[in-house]
Amino acid sequence: MIFHNAKGIQIDGRKDMCKKHPLIDYLNPDTVYIPLIQRHLKLKPKVDVGDSVKIGQVVAEVGGFGAITSHASISGEVKSFKKVWHSSGKMVEAIEIKNDFKNQLDDRIKEVKNVKELTREELVEIMKDSGLTGLGGAGFPSYIKYQTKEDIHTVIINAVECEPYLTCDYQFIIRFAEKLIKGATYMQRAADANKIVIAYKNYNSKVVEVLKPYLEKYSNIELFPIKDIYPAGWEKYIVEQVTGKTYSTLPAEIGVIVNNSATAIIFSDAVERNIPLISRPVSITGEGVKEPKTFFVPLGTKVSELIDQCGGYVEGLDPMQANYIAGGPMTGRAILIDDLVVNDTLGAVIVKPFEIRDYPECLGCGKCADVCPVYLTPTEIKKAYERKDLRLLDLLDASKCMECGLCSYICPSHVEITDAVSKGKALLKKGAK
């Protein structure tokens, strides 16, 4: 239909700049800072200043809904608790651990013998113990998805990575293809599903190349190419492409669980060797960095160290005139300082020159409404937000917005429309309570 054909648009990926180097290990930073925050939940530290910790040891936890634990990502001594910059754009309390470079493993980390005999409940318990969260960016604890009462038939592994610049998932898969397959099968067992679908971007032929040898062994795994458009990595889009069905809030409604590919790789380690979530891949990229690279780093590493590993900033970059983005360029957040720590949701840090945004007036061309993947009318939501008209915001379904950023991307007048819509969404949420 004419007015319902929005299905994303193609954006220049610029992923090549970060693909020149393979995934680089950077496993022994001098100091790490484990943030005491998980989404909006504050974590309670379980260590004190002066304690010595080992890799994998629980250092903080929180109970209740979304209960989660954080683990030490290096071995060493707890130096202090101090505030550090976090990818949410705020300063948060964190545990500072000084590396002793002995790489002592916690007692829990050992080869698990009876992998094949683990039951569904045990697998979900491992997922919970290892503090596994969605590494795609949402940071939602993974085990909650698997505690569903619904009958799950398919596990979809999201390896699409539709945001421009980002290559961390891609390079992680190339390096750990076998772990991805194994992690996916453990997830399938944890969900009691009978099928695994790995969704990837259709131009990433190398993903097929590295995964193909395993497909013969596991007959229930299927590769599913996704078109090169943004936002193709959106959960709802992938589920719709793979199953042909749509859902309202959670994919479990139609018997599907979607997990990020990096999450699956970490999960295979968690099952086989009981290693919790202590490290993740991070891309340091953008036009402002000398040699963009992707690193495999312990959580809590300072990004400024990684940028030094990339050869620093390009010459002539005026820091006052550069965007410094945590996350992808479409949904990420501008951070004002490069003294940031890597946390579980940080997939990339992008440095690019600041672009001048003028033409403040909306001319009403309607490109934002054309491109919206959930068929909203952003201009109307913006007006309703400016009038604080809650009823109209509800009628216009502002809460449906997933903040993909396409409306601001396409706007010829540089209107900060995504921002206005997400504020309208927040207002609606606040007003509804």
Binding site: I2, D338, L363, A369, V374, T377, E380, L395, P412
Partner: protein, 401 residues
């Protein structure tokens, strides 16, 4: 450690990346007007000069008239910016910078294209004043105007100086004025003389004085500067859709609606030939309005569904005002009315679009469709009775039912 500039997500903007910004859209729009400008120059200048009816300087007059329209709007807007700016920044550079993002020339050029060739310059000046100052700047400048500025200027002049604007000496170019068969000036002037006269609409009375429908398509008939040539407008349409400045379906649905309803009226009036609806869409600036004014982004709905509703309503109202209203052309009047209703249509269609199958969506959709249907029926009944020699008002009802 380094500190960085902030900014809001997303950090990629197509306006910077591929230069697809407002300035480019407006430039493309101006280029899209070129076929119409060139054709009207050819028809009213070059061709007449080749016929030997005017001299070389008079040949350049159509072009001069259009450029004057653009310049007048530009200068007036510049003056407005100069007067309203703060004392500190009241300088030439500041005004130029504001003009740069205000796109003042376009309403002026469109205004000139809407007016007949020999409209006195002082009328053009007055119309440009209404267009840019009253229609645009008083509403808050580019992006905030409710009415299409050029159209507002044209409408005010059309209502107040209708004697001058419809005068034969103003409308006809040097060649047309000596053709005998052009009795009642423009084709729509001829059409309006049928009102209540009791005569049946006929091909020989409406089309033949001007040649045939092919002449209507090419645009060699008398009329305002820009509105006559469907061919030139079609070229502009193709360019604008290719550059994604306008949506293809707005003009198509608008023209289609005018076509279908005119056809129905023709059937009611006793002539079911396709010539009548074809004639209907080729006269009175329907084509020009469809491509250059019904698609104007600021004063029409933003979302695609709203654009569809807008085009449907506009088509019905055009026919209603043309066949029933007291002014011969219905395009301008209907556009002015619809410019106001673009605002609620935008909100309604925004709701319908997202809640397509839910309760509020269905409710709002039925309101819009209901209003549309009532308008269609009213148009058919009212205009059917006006032009029918054989059928009375009551009989028209029986034909519909």
């Amino acid at each position: 450690m380094a500190r960085f500039a902030g900014g809001k997500a997303p950090f990629l903007r197509i306006a910077n990346e591929k230069g697809e910004n407002t300035k480019r859209i407006m430039r493309d729009f101006l280029i899209g007007l070129m076929p119409v400008i060139l054709f009207s120059w050819y028809k009213n200048g070059i061709q007449v000069y080749l016929d030997g009816n005017i001299n070389v300087y008079e040949m350049l007059y159509p072009l001069f008239f259009i450029i004057t329209g653009g310049l007048l709007a530009y200068v007036m807007e510049g003056l407005f910016f100069y007067i309203t700016s703060d004392k500190k920044e009241r300088d030439f550079k500041g005004v130029l910078r504001k003009l740069n993002t205000s796109f003042a020339i376009i309403p002026g050029v469109i205004l000139a294209l809407l007016l007949p060739l020999y409209t006195p310059i002082w009328i053009l000046m007055f119309a440009a004043f209404i267009a840019t100052i009253v229609g645009k700047m008083l509403f808050g400048g580019f992006g905030n105007n409710v009415f299409n500025p050029a159209l507002l200027g044209y409408a005010i002049v059309g209502f107040t100086f209708s004697g001058i604007v419809t005068d034969i000496n103003v409308i006809f170019n040097g060649s047309e004025i000596i053709i005998d068969s052009y009795a009642g000036a423009t084709p729509l002037g001829v059409l309006s003389s049928f009102r209540g006269s009791g005569d049946a609409l006929s091909y020989s009375a409406l089309v033949e004085p001007y040649g045939n429908l092919w002449d209507f398509f090419l645009g060699t008939i008398p009329g305002a500067l820009g509105e006559t040539s469907a061919l030139a407008i079609l070229i502009g349409f193709l360019w604008l859709t290719y550059r994604k400045v306008i949506k293809w379906f707005t003009p198509v649905i608008y023209i289609g609606t005018v076509f279908v309803i005119s056809w129905l009226i023709g059937i009611i009036a006793g002539d079911s030939g396709v010539w009548f609806p074809t004639y209907s869409i080729l006269t009175g600036g329907v084509m020009f309005a469809a491509v250059y004014m019904a698609t104007e982004p600021v004063t029409t709905p933003t979302n695609p569904l709203g654009k569809i509703f807008f085009a449907l309503f506009l088509g019905v109202l055009t026919v209603l005002f043309r066949f029933v209203g007291s002014l011969p052309e219905g395009v301008g009047t209907s556009l002015i009315v619809m410019n106001i209703f673009a605002i609620p249509i935008d909100t309604y269609s925004g709701i319908i679009r997202t809640k397509l199958t839910k309760k509020p969506g269905i409710a709002y959709a039925s309101i819009l469709i209901g209003v549309l249907l009532i308008l269609v029926v009213y148009t058919l009944v009212a205009s059917g009775s006006m032009y029918t020699a054989n059928l009375s008002f009551i009989n028209a009802w029986q034909v519909i039912l």
